[in-house]
């Protein structure tokens, strides 16, 4: 089960709202390489994962991704806070506003709603871990493009934190993959009980 802790993993304190930036950053909430896809992917794959190390890694990174989902949602919300209708129209957020007002809804930057088609859970531990390593790299790249689009340190700092976590997760999945491959390559010995 999960226990909610009433704080963020990393603080989000954005003084100046910026609806344009909200429209970009929301892609890490409900987009193809976003945090919702990441947590669902790992938390689903863990059921069929092998070796204690790789199972724990999926469980715990999947859990941390939920904390990242909360960080991204907080960023989107604060970026849209107190924004006037004129600013919304100017920033190209009008279509979003028509469907969701200033609520947080899982879509990509291009407006596609979240879909489970973003993720895979294949039942082959090696296949799944390769997908997870690729997913971490894709998320790292996305955070880099978002940092390129941002100019406010209040926005850039949490994006840098999230980017750094993708790098660590990639490393851990790589270690888990090596452990799984070593385990699968072990010679199997069968001992017959004497009659």
């Amino acid at each position: 089960m999960w226990i909610y802790e009433k704080k963020l993993e990393y603080p989000v304190k954005i003084k100046n709202p910026n609806p344009k930036m909200a429209k970009y950053i929301i892609t890490q909430y409900g987009g193809p390489d976003g945090e919702l896809a990441a947590s669902l992917r790992y938390l689903s794959q863990r059921f069929s994962m092998v070796t204690p190390q790789a199972r724990a890694t999926l469980n715990d990174i999947g859990t941390e991704e939920l904390a990242h989902l909360e960080i991204v949602g907080s960023m989107v919300r604060q970026l849209m806070d107190d924004v006037s209708i004129e600013e919304i129209k100017e920033s190209d957020l009008g279509a979003y506003y028509a469907d969701h007002d200033k609520a947080v809804y899982p879509i990509s930057a291009a407006g596609n709603p979240f879909t489970a088609a973003y993720i895979q859970s294949k039942g082959d531990p090696v296949t799944d871990l390769y997908e997870d390593m690729a997913a971490e790299q894709k998320a790292r790249s996305t955070y880099e493009w978002l940092i390129n689009l941002a100019d406010d340190p209040d926005v850039i700092e949490p994006l840098k934190f999230l980017r750094a976590r993708e790098v660590v997760h990639f490393q851990r999945f790589g270690e888990a993959l090596r452990i799984v491959q070593d385990k699968l390559a072990e010679k199997k010995f069968y001992v017959k009980k004497p009659e």
Partner: protein
Amino acid sequence: MDKNRQKLLKQLSALDFMAVDLNLYLDTHPYDRDALLRYNSIVMQANALRSYYERMYGPLYSFRSTSDYPWRWINNPWPWEYEFNFKLAGEE
């Protein structure tokens, strides 16, 4: 009051982050004795600080923290709000 809460929250967040990161490291290095000692020490420090924070400012955990009367869990601010968080980038 809020300045002190945010200062405590910052210390607690730093300790908890170290615990999260060491937890992931230990998942793939379960025999690293030094990392394990460090993890245990950080979790104990964080727990002590967390108890203090909760006595001062109310429950941090759903259904794992006790509360004074009336039920303090519902109190604002919530973590996604500007007022809740401490500032890291530069100083206010």
